[in-house]
């Protein structure tokens, strides 16, 4: 562990210098949903802001919710901090995305060693349970702990219908932990689902004119969203996350994009924009910033506004008057 110690030392030195000089002023960390704990509230910890937002929707003021991965960072490249161990240890309910998306959680819970927090434990909830999974991969040599979508594509929360399944799981777990609150939990969920249904109707109507439209995305983040709203994502700018695209791939992409009449490039807010911008410019189509997670883009502070934002941004980019070169 000498490397780690050195890192800590350097970190400490950097902190000292930064605070002493006062030269570094930083914006507050965005994201990380945390709802002020009411007295005797159930402490729910979710790995992502999306699951945290859904837990808030179900738990209401019965729960205090914290998330671990800050919004607008790449969750698959996340590295837990010392404070996260404490957060997880004190969780009454731990909600994770599963499917290898937040694989780092396993080492964290193993280190804590509390049986409640391990797979099958009372406080453990894998939100992917019961989701109709898309793009199940053949041959996964690295099953657990592997990056890059070991089992199936993990971005299932981007389909509003899947929120029904996820909230069901959360509600069930909460009722198990606080049986006397069954009614309130059920009522909270009903209210959320009613609103979701209403908006879902509107979203589908808004995107209906663009059914079958061809798109190119930066990463393979959108299969669930595409399935629900009937979009066709034909290719990806960076097919292997973390390996910058080759010139051959980009020119192939532009060729195919032209042939298929691609209408827009979808881009995640935490990824470098250059390559997507280049493809968009060559195809003369808009670059659409879609939010992958709650709070990763301003104005997406809860689950419904996340989808609202994505639907609106996409509809606007695809409508003729909104069509302008980026």
């Amino acid at each position: 562990m000498p490397a780690r110690n050195l890192g800590l030392l350097i970190t400490a030195a950097a902190l000292a210098v930064a605070s002493a000089s006062g030269a570094i002023s930083v914006a507050p960390a965005s994201g990380a949903i945390s709802v002020a704990p009411a007295s005797a509230a159930l402490r729910v910890v979710a790995t992502t802001t999306d699951l945290a937002a859904l837990a808030v929707a179900v738990g209401g003021d019965l729960v205090s919710v914290e998330s671990i991965v800050p919004a607008a960072t790449d969750p698959e490249a996340f590295e837990p901090r010392p404070g996260d161990i404490d957060k997880v240890r004190r969780a009454v309910l731990l909600v994770r995305v599963g499917l290898g998306y937040d694989y780092w959680l396993d080492t964290l819970t193993k280190q804590i060693g509390d049986k409640r927090l391990l797979r099958g434990g009372d406080a453990y909830l894998d939100a992917s349970a019961g989701i109709p999974l898309l793009e199940i991969r053949g041959q996964s040599v690295m099953n657990e702990g592997g990056h890059a979508h070991g089992v199936a594509n993990p971005h299932y929360w981007l389909d509003p219908e899947n929120a029904i399944i996820v909230t069901a799981g959360i509600a069930e777990a909460l009722v198990r932990l606080a049986p006397e609150q069954r009614q309130r939990i059920a009522a909270n969920r009903e209210r959320f689902l009613a609103e979701l249904k209403k908006r879902r109707q509107r979203w589908s109507e808004r995107l209906a004119p663009f059914a079958g439209v061809k798109l190119i995305a930066y990463h393979n983040t959108w299969p669930y969203f595409a399935r629900r709203f009937r979009l066709d994502v034909i290719e990806f700018v960076e097919p292997k996350p973390g390996v910058s695209p080759s010139p051959a791939h980009l020119s192939q992409l532009i060729l195919e994009g032209r042939k298929a009449h691609v209408r827009a490039i979808l881009h995640e807010p935490y990824e470098p924009e250059e390559a997507s911008r280049l493809v968009a410019r060559r195809l003369d189509v808009p670059l659409v910033l879609l939010a992958v997670s709650v709070d990763s883009v301003p104005g997406t502070s809860d689950y419904l506004s996340l989808l609202e934002h994505n639907v609106a941004a996409l509809a606007q980019a695809l409508s003729p008057p909104g069509r302008q070169a980026p």
Binding site: I10, A14, P132, R227, S246, P247, L255, E274, L278
Partner: protein, 449 residues
């Protein structure tokens, strides 16, 4: 093809500009023996850009550049200090500490900034492929100004880079020149790292200069060689990235390294006298042969000791002769092995086909219901399980085949390799006594004639 050209033209022009200025600065850096100073300066300027970013300025804005310049200036001052502190702390150590500190501080600042991860990624990898024409124009102006400055001040700058402890100059004057050098160096590196990334900039800087210095120590010779080699490496790297479908930055760095190896070989084999060339060739051939024999011997031993583990020798043999593990199995086992291979491909195909079907249904005709999707997913899971089962069968049989192969392939290979090594290591006297006897025979003949 026109698409490809239009893709590669701007990156190529940009990398030529980078090579022209970086190779020159690289010569200085090599002479000063502070090879990693560029990383330290680049990282400090990145820290500046990150602080600007965290304070809400875009990296390409004036404020962003001002922050980067400020931090680069601080870095230049610190590196100037390094020479004065050389008695206490080695310059390399000083530069290294500066680098890790700047990197760690960047991570800490980024951690507080929204969307910072993107920023760090960009600094490391860069994206020379997507360089914009405006960026290129401002780079050209900047580099022209710095090149002019360096041209006018070439004598003092080269002098202080060359001598270890500068003699005949006041320490103050040396420090001023040092500072100016590091400042201009920092400005160049700060501008190039934001486009090409840390890895590639390091290659631009060091590799051409090293290639040049292999062939000469005179700056007037080193520079043209460095420039030529650097431009050739850029062209090769970009072309390779296009033709082999590789990430651009990594392909270019590899091309630089390969060119350095080629230059080394050329120096040893081409730019020497006939006698030396023969000696070098013999040495190279003998060491290559020895390496190959050693590898063969070690891996054939490994095959005999543990036939079921990963076996590079057996895999190489099977790959090159086309004789797969099936050839070493009994007829019954061979059938099982082959059907396992077939079935695995089939199951794999089924999974892919289901994925394609689901994908089509997303936007064509009737959408699939959640129940359909679940059914597809569970089929896929079972196909995956079955494929895994077949792979297990294959592995067991391959182990069995390898257990036979170890005597058929491993033992002869080991014996041959051992004999070959023995021949290479035969005593020196032996080798020359034969030649001497031939020569003396020849002279006797000539006398007789």
């Amino acid at each position: 093809m026109s698409d490809a050209l239009s893709f590669l033209l701007l990156p190529f022009v940009a990398s030529v500009a980078f090579v022209l200025i970086h190779a020159y600065l690289g010569v200085h850096v090599l002479r000063r023996k502070v090879v990693f100073a560029d990383l330290a300066l680049a990282q400090l300027s990145a820290l500046g850009a990150t602080v600007a970013f965290a304070a809400g300025h875009s990296p390409s804005s004036t404020a962003g550049f001002a922050y980067a310049l400020l931090f680069t200036t601080i870095g230049a001052a610190l590196l100037t200090l390094a020479r004065r502190l050389a008695r206490f702390v080695s310059q390399e150590a000083f530069v290294g500490i500066l680098y890790v500190f700047a990197t760690a501080a960047t991570v800490l600042v980024v951690d507080r900034a929204p969307q910072g991860a993107e920023h760090v990624k960009r600094i490391l990898l860069g994206s020379i492929l997507t360089v914009a024409p405006q960026e290129l124009a401002s780079l050209a102006v900047l580099y022209a100004i710095i090149a002019l400055l360096h041209w006018f001040a070439r004598r003092p700058l080269l002098a202080i880079s060359g001598e270890a402890p500068p003699v005949g100059r006041s320490m103050f004057a040396v420090s001023i020149w040092d500072f100016l050098f590091f400042l201009s160096f920092g400005v160049v590196v700060a501008s190039s790292v934001s486009i090409a990334g840390v890895l590639l900039v390091f290659s631009f800087l060091i590799v051409p200069a090293v290639i040049g210095s292999i062939f000469s120590s005179d700056v007037r010779v080193v520079l043209p060689i460095a420039w030529g080699a650097g431009i050739a490496a850029c062209a090769a790297g970009l072309a390779g990235a296009y033709m082999l479908d590789l990430p651009t930055g990594a392909a270019m760095v590899t091309a630089f390294t390969l060119l350095l190896v080629l230059a080394g070989i050329a120096k040893a084999l081409v730019f020497v006298g006939v006698k030396e060339r023969r000696a070098h060739l013999r040495f190279a051939a003998r060491s290559l042969l020895a390496l190959a024999l050693l590898f063969t011997f070690a891996s054939s031993l490994w095959l005999m000791v543990n036939p079921t583990a990963d076996q590079p020798l057996a895999a190489l043999f099977e790959g090159s002769t086309g004789m797969g593990p099936a050839h070493f199995l009994s007829a019954g086992d061979r059938d099982i092995y082959e059907s396992a291979t077939r079935d695995m491909a089939r199951f794999q195909g089924e999974v892919d086909q289901l994925n394609a079907r689901e994908k089509r249904a997303r936007f064509q005709a009737e959408p699939l219901s959640d129940e359909d999707i679940r059914r597809i997913a569970s089929y896929q899971q079972s196909f995956n399980e079955m494929a895994r089962g077949e792979r297990f069968v294959q592995e067991v049989l391959r182990g069995k085949a390898r257990a036979r192969e170890r005597w058929i392939v491993g033992l002869p290979a080991a014996v041959i390799a051992l004999l070959g090594l023995g021949w290479l290591a035969r005593p020196h006297r032996w080798r020359h006594s034969r030649r001497r006897s031939v020569e003396s025979g020849a002279s006797r003949n000539s006398i007789a004639a």
